[in-house]
């Protein structure tokens, strides 16, 4: 079974995955916003999420080995995916993958920095598109500029409507693509802001969740 969901709060995501496990759906894979589950015997969910991206393969292996040794099986995530999913497989180990509030909050700090740097990386693209004239700032605010038919606005009657309606789908496309980048940047900045707020909040909290 596949389910699409988008979380900005890691605790909520953990809880959802563990509730699914309790209802007999074992989490197998995640791709962007879609989670894949297999039917299984209902069990107490013991999934925890860390956020950490690695440059070197050795560091990623060392990291996974440490968790494995401590009774936490790495079930999802790659070297550079950032999101790392662990499942408790050994009752002897720790209750959580973090033992103090600071390090538990630290994952939100890394998450926030990632969203922020992604949104920053879009700015040079916007500047480049504007300087080559591909992206016109006017197109963001002036819908008429999206219509390129010569003399369109001087036409009247049926002639106007035919030309206007014919071009509208293209104009919408142009307008949408002009808005797309700023919207994506906004979205990532919101994610960054939310993660940072979560960081500040969980720093002040104890370990109970």
């Amino acid at each position: 079974m596949r389910k699409c969901k988008c979380f900005t709060n890691l605790e909520h995501e953990e809880k959802w995955l563990n509730d699914m496990a309790g209802r007999g759906w074992r989490f197998v894979r995640k791709s962007l916003f879609s989670y894949e589950f297999h039917e299984a015997v209902p069990e107490v969910g013991r999934i925890k999420i860390d956020y950490r991206a690695f440059v070197k393969k050795e560091d990623f292996e060392d990291y996974r080995a440490l968790f494995e040794d401590s009774g936490w099986k790495h079930i999802q995530g790659s070297k550079s995916s950032g999101y790392q999913y662990f499942k408790m497989v050994n009752d002897q180990g720790s209750e959580d993958i973090f033992s103090d509030a600071d390090s538990k909050a630290g994952r939100y700090k890394r998450l926030s920095e990632m969203w922020f740097s992604i949104s920053l990386s879009f700015f040079p693209i916007i500047v480049a598109l504007m300087s080559t004239g591909t992206l016109k700032p006017a197109a963001l605010l002036d819908p008429e500029a999206l219509y390129l038919t010569p003399g369109l606005w001087e036409k009247t009657g049926v002639g106007f409507w035919r030309a206007f309606l014919f071009e509208t789908p293209f104009a919408l496309l142009r307008g949408l693509s002009a808005w797309l980048l700023p919207l994506v940047i906004m979205l990532y900045l919101i994610f960054a802001f939310k993660a940072n707020r979560q960081y500040k909040r969980s720093q002040g909290e104890g370990l109970s969740d």
């Binding site: 860390d50 292996e61 060392d62 440490l66 968790f67 040794d69 401590s70 720790s94 993958i97 390090s103």
Partner: protein, 113 residues
């Protein structure tokens, strides 16, 4: 003279540095810290990993090869030993001065507390 910005070390950092007087990999550090602290400090994997990363950045510990090509082995550096010694002196002073005051007012609290 300004105070040492690394002091005081946290309890976990102090025990990690103490554990790394001999080279050890991640899980061995967890076990040693628990043992050295008399079972008081039990670190989880995610917390230890972050601490190791931070201590490497501060150059208090360094990686020295791996076991089975997977688990990295770390050991304390000279800087690490130096900062530990300064923290040891700091704590030692606290204990000495505390004992002196307790002795002088003759009401030393005992283990029943």
């Amino acid at each position: 003279m300004g105070r040492d910005k690394y002091l005081p070390l946290t309890e976990t950092v102090y025990y990690i540095l103490l554990a790394l007087h001999e080279p050890a990999h991640g899980y061995l550090i967890l076990q040693k810290v628990e043992e050295l602290s008399g079972g008081q400090v039990r670190m989880a994997a995610g917390t230890l990993y972050g601490a190791i990363e931070n201590l490497i950045k501060l150059r208090f510990i360094e990686p020295v090869g791996t076991v089975d090509n997977r688990r990295k082995v770390y050991v304390i550096t000279e800087e690490g030993r130096a900062v530990m010694f300064r923290d040891y002196e700091r704590m030692n002073h606290m204990m000495e001065i505390t004992r002196r005051i307790w002795n002088s007012d003759g009401r030393e609290p005992h283990a029943e507390m």
